[in-house]
Symmetry: C2
Amino acid sequence: MGVEERRQQLIGVALDLFSRRSPDEVSIDEIASAAGISRPLVYHYFPGKLSLYEAALKRASEDLAGRFAEPHEGPLGARLLRVMRRYFDFVDEHGPGFSALMRGGPAVGSSTTNALIDSVRQAAYEQILTHLGVTEAPARMELVVRSWISLAESTALIWLDGRRIPRAELELQLVHDFAALAAVSAAYDADMAALLRTMVKDEPADGPFAELVGRLLSLAP
Amino acid sequence: MGVEERRQQLIGVALDLFSRRSPDEVSIDEIASAAGISRPLVYHYFPGKLSLYEAALKRASEDLAGRFAEPHEGPLGARLLRVMRRYFDFVDEHGPGFSALMRGGPAVGSSTTNALIDSVRQAAYEQILTHLGVTEAPARMELVVRSWISLAESTALIWLDGRRIPRAELELQLVHDFAALAAVSAAYDADMAALLRTMVKDEPADGPFAELVGRLLSLAP
């Protein structure tokens, strides 16, 4: 194998191990053994576990950011629901590593890992703005989108801790949460009210937004 | 000064400095100077900056957790709004230190600091459950409360970054966000629907929940 090919293979093996267990429980010996090479050869390609972890995290970050890309076609609610499905696929595939990373701590908290987490959040933020047809978000819109992204993260982390709620329900709930947070903000702000009207204008009668309204109406006494 | 008195004074001086700037920008020399003692004397009480930082963070955590305590009297919306005011008071007083801590990174991310952050989140979670009259939260209720706590954190962090929205508006918005997230969850779950009815049953016509409903109705075409 060539140098770059071997590096890429090691990153793949390491990402698989770092995804399935908390990174501080994964040793270089284990990575070497899973890759079928010697421990010194791992160190030939990566100076230590942290640099290999960061390379694996970089690949995972690019993978996740890529899953946010969604064609600008059809109703917004259905687009967001498809993204949520791909997001939960990712969270499902990388569960223990995702939890350890997002909960922070010495094994996973470096300025590089924080920058990678921020780059994924920023990619999600920018994708959502393009679907909303906005280039410069006013302050309240930025707040709604960024705080909803953090809500999606915490919802995924709570789901991973025991998986007590079916993930399909949470994917749809997060779409509804976005609409609900936008609606609260719209109650304060004309920009957000205009955005909300755009969001719901092309929603079909059987789409997720209409379903939410139906469910909420059924709660009324 | 006695040993314990001196330790407490140093913690207070350090907390003040760690609150006003990112902790990695604060030196032991500066803390010694602000406390009016020599650098070696600081090391006599604390082995290093990290242990002093952790002691300061422990004091701040207890302070913040204490602000969640609210008498079990009057409508729920007004109680939560009073807690939100005290929460933003805290965030305002400790702005740069709060941001640096919650954004993580090597200067502030240790297992001790993470445990302190978790203890504050847990205190908030338990306080909310007692106000809802719940001892064992079902899975969906736990999700709503815990994910709303993370929404409150991210809202405070976004506010600190430029303070472009009046904090009083965000304090009220977070109360509304709680109701909105509970309403979305209630659309899926009988326990949450029953809880929502309890929440709104004693709300006055001029309380925050009624205000939200009025604002939302005014959005309708």
